[in-house]
């Protein structure tokens, strides 16, 4: 059924249709409506789940870990400072192989105190062992949440569904909300390989000496390496059932592109508008939107890069003292390739400043005017 809903509610519907059994969350702008609606669904019995109110995000994740270990499908949502407070337990989720699914609304880290979008909050959690899905529309938020339960539970690795503050979270769009029966057919109930039961007691996550810890990390990485193929496979299954394909990387007019704008989140759809405008003016531009950031889609990025004469990676984030984070990753994916195109790195839109089609036009023209990058970072729109 088609509904006009905000991006935050698309997350709530995703968790509801995924039949989350335990939800523990703490409210934070701009995530609040996600858990407001879920708590209403629990109260009205539209969703048969236990809603646990907690006193912090650290506790929210702790409650999710316990519930997941006991065999419940578990969901939470947070943003920015709340995600940072969860940091310790994000490692527990992946190390404990607990397939929690969490929504994170990209909000800039304080100070200065901000509620607007940039990606430094989720990218600061890059190395915690979570899969990360960056969404560009309300529909994709809902679809990705359902897919994430399936992929996470198959691999016993947690997932983060990531959406831009306000540009998605509070923006209303038409969303095709699938039937429960169809989602049930796509997503079977959670059956963990290991779980905490009173009939067979175990201690989980205890002291692990050097003789075992290394192998546990090896196993986590090996399972993470299975994720790209599984994301493609479950994305195709999703398309068969619901008519919408879920890919690691989404291409737009890349096949004959002289310049490919590499983006993530809502900036990806803005870039498409810019691509159309540039093409009207005779510049063969294309857009490659990276949807899955962890595991990093090496093969897909290499495949798209092979079509490009130049690439411009536009980051709404920064690793201070280095580059934009997607820029680093794209360069590392393409390092050593035979026909690697020049790759330019741009920083734009920090703290929720708009990244406009005009900005993408400037970016494309800048990258087209140079034979190779001259600066480590090109800043877009700094008031000088």
């Amino acid at each position: 059924m088609k509904k006009v809903i905000m991006g935050n509610h698309a997350l709530s519907y995703g968790a509801m249709l995924g039949r989350a059994q335990v939800i523990a969350a703490y409210p934070i702008t701009p995530q609040t409506q996600v858990v407001e609606l879920l708590s209403e669904m629990c109260a009205s019995k539209a969703l048969d789940a236990k809603f646990i109110k907690v006193e912090s995000e650290h506790s929210a994740m702790a409650a999710c870990l316990g519930a997941s270990l006991a065999g419940a499908r578990t969901f939470t949502a947070t943003s920015s400072q709340g995600l940072a407070l969860m940091h310790e337990l994000l490692h527990w989720a992946s190390g404990g192989r607990l397939p929690v699914v969490m929504g994170n609304i990209n909000r800039s880290m304080a100070p200065g105190w901000s509620i607007w979008a940039d990606q430094n909050d989720s990218l600061s959690q890059r190395d915690t062992g979570w899969m990360q899905f960056y969404c560009a529309s309300n529909q994709e938020v809902l679809d990705s949440t359902i897919q994430a339960f399936k992929v996470s539970e198959a691999l016993a690795i947690p997932s983060m569904i990531i959406l831009d503050a306000f540009a998605i979270s509070h923006t209303y769009e038409v969303v095709d909300v699938p039937d429960q029966a169809a989602v049930d057919a796509y997503l079977p109930p959670f059956k963990p390989a290991l779980k905490l039961t009173s009939s067979e007691p175990h201690a989980f996550g205890g002291l692990t000496g050097p003789e075992h810890y290394f192998e546990l990390r090896y196993k986590l990485q090996k399972d993470m390496e299975k994720a790209p193929a599984l994301i493609d496979q479950t994305g195709l299954e999703f398309e068969k059932m619901f008519g919408r394909r879920l890919e690691q990387v989404e291409e737009y007019r890349c096949d004959d592109a002289e310049i490919i704008l590499v983006t993530s989140g809502t900036a990806g759809y803005t870039a498409r508008v810019a691509v159309d405008e540039l093409r009207r003016k005779g510049v063969k531009a294309g857009n490659c939107r990276i949807r899955v950031f962890r595991p990093f889609p090496f093969d897909e990025v290499r495949r798209v890069a092979a079509k490009a004469r130049r690439m411009a990676v536009v980051d709404r984030n920064i690793s201070y003292g280095c580059h934009g984070i997607f820029y680093q990753e794209v360069k590392s994916a393409l390092y050593g390739g035979a026909d690697t195109p020049p790759i330019f790195g741009f920083i734009a839109g920090l703290g929720g400043r708009d990244i406009t089609p005009g900005d993408f036009g400037d970016i494309a023209r800048y990258a087209m005017s140079k034979p190779k990058p001259e600066e480590e970072i090109v800043w877009i729109g700094v008031k000088k």
Binding site: A156, F204, G205, G206, E215, D223
Partner: protein, 99 residues
């Protein structure tokens, strides 16, 4: 009192045999935390009211009830003092360890 199952230290020779996450690998058989202790609980059974609160509160399961009185397992007790704090009849004293 329920008898503890005998356990032995498990060493996996291959990652393929290992569970995905660390669980019940018997590390506490060898990690004898009693050595961490500076002060130790000493129970005066003559004042004990046999309520079992010390047994319930011990975070390291180092108190067992034998013949209806608490017995401290000094191999693992870290000397945190929670039992002495919680004891309603104050029959557990925390005594300096002799070095």
């Amino acid at each position: 009192m329920k008898k503890q199952k005998p356990t032995e230290k498990i060493i996996f020779q291959s990652e393929k045999e290992m569970p995905m996450m660390p669980m019940s690998v018997g590390s506490m058989l060898f990690n004898k935390t009693g050595a961490w202790r500076n002060i130790k609980p000493v129970v005066d059974n003559s004042n004990c009211i046999q309520c079992g609160i010390c047994w319930k509160f011990c975070p390291d399961m180092s108190i067992t009830i034998e013949n209806e009185f608490p017995v401290v397992d000094y191999v693992y007790c870290k000397g945190c003092g929670i039992c002495a704090e919680e004891c309603p009849s104050k029959c557990i004293a925390m005594v300096e360890e002799e070095k």
